[in-house]
Subunit: 407 residues, 2 copies
């Protein structure tokens, strides 16, 4: 019996399926939206409020928790769920996305990839500390792993597949991910192929490290991550290679360009074992989830509901609105008409507009709460439409309204 | 029948009394701690959580709400309570404290009081717009009222007793306050006397404006504010003059030096009508509340639980602690041992320490929630000790522990 497994209840249209994802800390009704809990918290929201927001599970970030408070402390707490006061299922990512995106994106001055002359040869498990510090924030990749500087204090760190799994074992989430290389959308095909091949070798090493080192009484499932950037044949090849490995489930990794991924998602998923759960990493806007579900995705995570919420972006059935805009100053309706979330049933647009205009932190909190509910509730409705056999009708009705006044 | 009245249930020791403060929006068990809701919200805390935190009522700030969103909008919402989604009793201050403290304190460069030559003559209801703008943030007092600049955009505004009451009528709180002049602790006796006398004239005008202009179907009680700075004879004189006016209750105004006030509080309260409620403005640390209750205070408000909470200061039965300090990194106990608040029953010190260290806004929120509960719960216990006839025993036990490791 796998620690994490999927019971498929009903299928179709396409590769869509409604199911129940069984985990050591409880069941997840799928398809499901997975809240992002970067530092073992959802921005501004207490764990005791998750249930009312429809949050069944969340994904925390290995990179962030490794840096602070450290995986050792979270192990002592009894795992990331217990640490944050949440008794439901949790996930942790592999740290790969943060390591590479911080290396690449930070300050937008340094590429993740150093000039040829400075980069270590593939296969050399060494890195030049002086070089790294002299260049500030960066990530240097070699066959063994990646060396990177902390975004907090610039200190040097190193992740390998084995180290990522060791950290994730201590973080103790129900679902963990193999260590992968998340490439730049600007990378060319040759580099994508090289990175994808390396990710497969890292997947194999992650899986071995997981099977060999997970303590006997611990229960965690591991997902492999399909990569390959925007190249369909690389994605399909990646899915085939990973499908041959004994993972408990699969993640589809991001390439920063979600439309490339969405277009080839069903081809990728056809290569993956049907009975195993599939998670789409970092993508989960309303319109994406219809595409993803029909292409066979079971779970989604996306940081946008809280990121939008913090600046006043609100999801409504008519599209996104900016609640700080002057037009909402005297709007006595709820954020989203007919919404049953704890924010919409208690507060008006005018009040939340006021909180944003006067820089009160309750504004971003209420906006984030509503947005999370909006997405968890939307996916719950998508699930129901699969069960009811009217997925396309529900999708068309939702999208025709959502697109209407979308900004 | 007054809109706001106090039923005294039990008295002693000293002037202490346990009672029920009746208001149009419900009863308040007194003595009670009143949460500060400056901009129609308690920092980071939803109105639906107030009950679990023991919050019976809150005091919002007329100055802030007048500037944004404006009293007209709140009137349209149905009053400050309805605007923020809270159906319990509310209070608004007169705006005096903010106007004067912003005028005086802002930037610490300008005195509230302009040089003689520049200050308008007493009795001149005029102000020099050019002068005010050229001097930046300030407040200019004359017999009619005060002209001041907004801390938000530097725009010029004017409050008079009549205007303060008009605004407070629109804000619609259950308990409103007469417009008063809140003097600097540095002011000399002659100025304190002058300001105190002016406050009495303003109290009379506030009361008249309230009685004449409150619409027939609106119900709000008005409190007069005792001033007089740190001079006992001025305070007593102030209490006598206000006691002779037909207020529904009384506030004791701050002078920035709480020890001066606490020392003469019982003398002041002996001059006030025993059957009317008394509110101590802006003072409410644990040790103060024992002194205040014994001196006859029914309600306290204090911004410190949220202000301390935002920077990690936590109230415990052993005194205040700084949760971001390294010593709490692996502390698996609750913020305050034995505390039954929604934070202490769900989260550890180690988790909240982590949230502060990683700059997550959930940290300040949880700290503020606990602190508010700590104070509302402490005053609830003080009330019970009056009812049980063991006020002094409870006080001594609490303070001996609280003082022990107080930082």
């Amino acid at each position: 019996m796998r620690p994490v497994s999927l019971d498929i209840i009903k299928e179709g249209p396409g590769l869509a399926r409604a199911g129940i994802l069984r985990t050591p800390h409880g069941d997840i009704q799928t398809p499901a939206f997975v809240a992002v809990g970067t530092k073992a918290d959802i921005k501004g929201i207490k764990a005791s409020e998750f249930k009312a927001l429809g949050v069944q599970t969340l994904i925390a970030n290995t990179y962030h928790l490794y840096l602070s408070p450290g995986e050792g402390l979270i192990e002592k707490a009894g795992g990331v769920g217990k640490f944050m006061g949440f008794d439901g299922p949790t996930m942790t990512d592999s740290g790969g996305f943060q390591v590479f995106s911080l290396g690449e994106g930070y300050g937008k001055k340094l590429s993740k990839f150093l000039p040829e002359a400075a980069a270590p040869e593939a296969g050399m498990a060494v890195f030049d500390e002086e070089l790294a510090t002299s260049h500030g924030k960066l990530a240097i990749i070699d066959e063994e792993g990646v060396s990177f500087t902390s975004h907090v204090d610039g200190s040097l760190h190193r992740f390998t597949p084995e180290r990522s799994i060791e950290i994730q074992h201590k973080l103790g989430a129900d679902i963990i991910f193999a260590f992968d290389e998340c490439t730049s959308p600007a990378a060319d095909e040759a580099y994508q192929k090289e990175a994808s091949d390396r990710t497969h070798r890292w997947a194999d090493r992650s899986l071995k490290a997981h099977r060999q080192n997970l303590s006997a009484n611990a229960k965690q499932g591991i997902y492999g991550i399909v990569q390959g950037g925007r190249y369909a044949h690389l994605r399909i090849q990646s899915a085939k290679e990973l499908a041959a490995m004994d993972f408990d489930g699969y993640g589809i990794g991001g390439s920063f360009s979600k439309h490339d991924i969405l277009g080839i998602l069903d081809k990728v998923n056809r290569e993956l074992p049907k009975e195993k759960p599939r998670h789409l990493l970092g993508i989960g806007e309303p319109e994406d989830m219809f595409i993803g579900v029909e292409a066979g995705i079971d779970t989604f995570d996306c940081v946008l509901p809280t990121r939008n919420g913090r600046t006043g972006g609100i999801y409504t059935k008519q599209g996104k609105i900016q609640i700080p805009n002057a037009e909402y100053k005297e709007d006595w309706g709820p954020l989203d008409d007919g919404c049953t979330c704890p924010v919409c049933t208690e507060h008006t647009r005018a009040y939340i507009h006021h909180l944003f205009r006067t820089h009160e932190m309750l504004g971003p909190i209420l906006a984030s709460m509503h947005n999370i509910f909006f997405l968890t509730n939307l996916v719950a409705k998508i699930r129901q439409s699969i069960l009811d056999g009217n997925f396309h009708a529900f999708r068309d009705t939702f999208l025709s309204s959502y697109a209407k006044v979308r900004t």
